[in-house]
Assembly symmetry: C2
Homo-oligomer: 418 residues x 2
């Protein structure tokens, strides 16, 4: 049976929708601007992309993106959801070549004043080539030793400039405070002032020392973002040093680099999505998170950032909620990935997060919400856990805080941000 | 002396410009949403990004991007060019980590209704780590055997589905027609219907056979876009088979993958920029080509697509002209890259292209403009060369066509397209 890839788009065009959809299909398969010899009907039948669905939406007088070519007069710009189907044999199960096909030149076509990839469905051949997350939710929980509640974490702050001596003190404090998880800031990978190898040594010494005391080995996502060979060296160093997680800036390195990391990783891959805003913040361009997270899971990340509810970023809560649920929806029959909620998180974010996720399979990362808790980091951690306890029990924050002083303090300190 | 990276942005914000610029600098260096212990004044002094320039522009009543957080009332959205300066010791000379710093989370900040990276300046340490284009303009000319005029090329069309027997016939025709250069379509890398290794064998046989006759070895950019190890295997196969160029979809694989390819390449890297529209078509988001082409050259591409004048894509001619000039402007003291003009090109595009480039150091790629020439591909090639001859001599197309029948035929066939 012929395998096909389905790709869905949100488009805006001054042309009839059927015509516009055919332009997309032609550009990304057998079309040329002048008919050339060899472009036979048989070839088109076998290789052309097909328009499988057009769902008309609203219209507007004003093009969302500039430089669309419009018919004379005062055209209406029609919006629609369009789904195309591509024969897999046009490109084979290759992540980079999938992108060339389903995205590629489409964004530059002048027939469109808006074009956004909104979803994709892949045939089984992709699963045979890309094994996806090696650890996923179950594997991460096992390594972190955390079950039946979210994994609570923090980010090393300040993001930049902390000398290794202070790094050591901070990691010790966090590990002894009972934190499940710590991640490097995305700005800190292998900076000259705190070289990666030194950082790994210091951090792992403190994590192991705390584990000897507490019996719990804190998971630390070391930011190995770098060039291809650097990533491998850094991954190997983390694994050899007893670390349990590596982090990568997916868009900083690209999908091919992530898939390469997946091919040899011995540790869960914490996928950071910085630069993602450039791909998604214009509603009529780029890509939806629904499509993006599938590409990330295909490449093999075990954790994926979704933003948190009530964050300091522009993304509205409804989108964050949808992103979390996207991550928790099976893809290619599995490809478990753990959504990572971050930015301005504190104990009070647990209730809306639980409402959004309908699940405890999330990593929630708080910076100030833990480190700046007036009772110290350990109290910050407790307050975060208490927030989720309240959520699961269906209590309000205030109710639960009445008998949990760490939560009470968190409300007093961070509640205004709520 | 302390090395710093300068990054320039076009911003739109409802906040005072100074305040907005400080938010950018803080987010991408030492800032946190709640002050944390360790964030000392000394650390800030040493590691904070600095605002070095704010050039106010116009204002608008309507935010360009949704979900910006605005002060109460009816705020004005102020636009400005802003330049930030980052200490290199925050991240070191690493292309992926540079991206995390100068782009990173900026696009998601809710203080902005528009944010676009417009330019960057890098210190010498980057040149020490990333050698840049291995061949550049001079090396490409030498391999192609083309001097003192543009390199004229075509794209194998139809892009998809051509069986190898017809592939062979087409390549033979092109090589015998005296073409300088052929590139794979970006949709065709290693498809099951025409596996890469088979394609290389067939193409190189024909190129060598034609070279034996004509004395000229046509440069063919084989599309090796794929996963990291596949790219290496495919590059090695092309080099071993006597090929003289490899092509990669930069955005399909990511900058780290391109830099990795550069680390071992024996051949010029033809950089295709498909998906680029997603990063640039919204004027208030993403990245300008001026910034992008520097990143591509740092990663090491020898050729870079810029679109052509009067193309079928949305980009206006002024932007295409600027992109061509950007490529021809030295970067880090050199990093020569050859702009590639394509899409709806034909003999008549030479004159505006020469006006835009003020140089002959371009690759011009025509599909139908060569393959659909009524006199055949050889006549198509001649017509393209004649177009440039007219441009250099300062003649009009009509003048030069009066004594050049291939050009005359090209005008008659493609002239309506401009």
């Amino acid at each position: 049976m012929e395998e096909r890839v389905l790709a869905s788009y949100y488009i805006e065009t001054p042309y009839p929708l059927e015509q516009a959809a055919e332009v997309m299909a032609g550009e990304q398969s057998t079309g040329t601007f002048v008919s050339v010899p060899g472009e036979t009907e048989e070839l088109k039948e076998r290789h052309a992309a097909r328009v499988v669905r057009i769902e008309p939406l609203d219209e507007t007088d004003r093009p969302s993106l500039p430089h669309a070519l419009a018919p004379a007069g005062s055209p209406k710009y029609r919006r629609a959801n369009v789904t195309l189907s591509f024969p897999l044999h046009n490109f084979g199960p290759s992540l980079p070549n999938l992108l060339a096909t389903i995205a590629g030149n489409l964004y530059e076509l002048r027939e469109f004043s808006g074009l956004r990839l909104t979803d994709l469905e892949l045939p089984a051949s992709f699963a045979a080539k890309y094994p996806g997350p090696r650890f996923g939710i179950a594997g991460t929980r096992k390594l972190a030793g955390v079950y039946e509640r979210p994994i609570i974490g923090t980010i090393v702050k300040p993001s930049i400039g902390l000398p290794l001596t202070e790094y050591r003190t901070l990691v010790r404090e966090l590990a002894e405070a009972g934190l499940d998880f710590v991640k490097d800031d995305e700005l800190c990978a292998d900076p000259p002032y705190a070289p990666f190898a030194e950082r790994v040594r210091v951090v792992m010494e403190e994590i192991e020392r705390a584990a000897d005391k507490t019996g719990k080995k804190m998971m630390y996502a070391f930011n190995i973002t770098g060039d291809i060979d650097e990533m491998r060296r850094n991954h190997d160093l983390v694994a050899k040093s007893g670390g349990t997680c590596v982090m990568v800036g997916i868009n900083n390195v690209g999908f091919a680099a992530v898939a390469h990391l997946r091919s040899y990783t011995e540790l869960p891959i914490h996928g950071h999505r910085n630069q993602w805003g450039a791909m998604t913040r214009c509603p009529q361009l780029g890509m939806s998170f629904t499509a993006y997270q599938k590409l990330c899971r295909l490449a093999g990340v075990d954790h994926l950032h979704t933003n948190g509810l009530n964050s300091k970023f522009a993304e509205p809560n409804e989108q964050v909620a949808r992103s979390i649920r996207d991550c928790l929806t099976p893809f290619l029959g599995g490809y478990e990935v753990m959504p990572v909620l971050s930015s301005a998180q504190w104990a009070g974010t647990a209730i809306p997060s639980y409402e959004a996720a309908q699940s405890l399979d999330v990593i929630q990362v708080a910076g100030g919400g833990i480190l700046a808790h007036p009772g110290g980091a350990a109290a910050g951690v407790r307050s975060m856990q208490q927030g989720w306890e309240a959520a699961v029990r269906g209590q309000t924050l205030e109710q639960y805080a009445a008998i949990h002083p760490e939560l009470r303090q968190a409300i007093e300190t961070f509640g205004k941000k709520g």
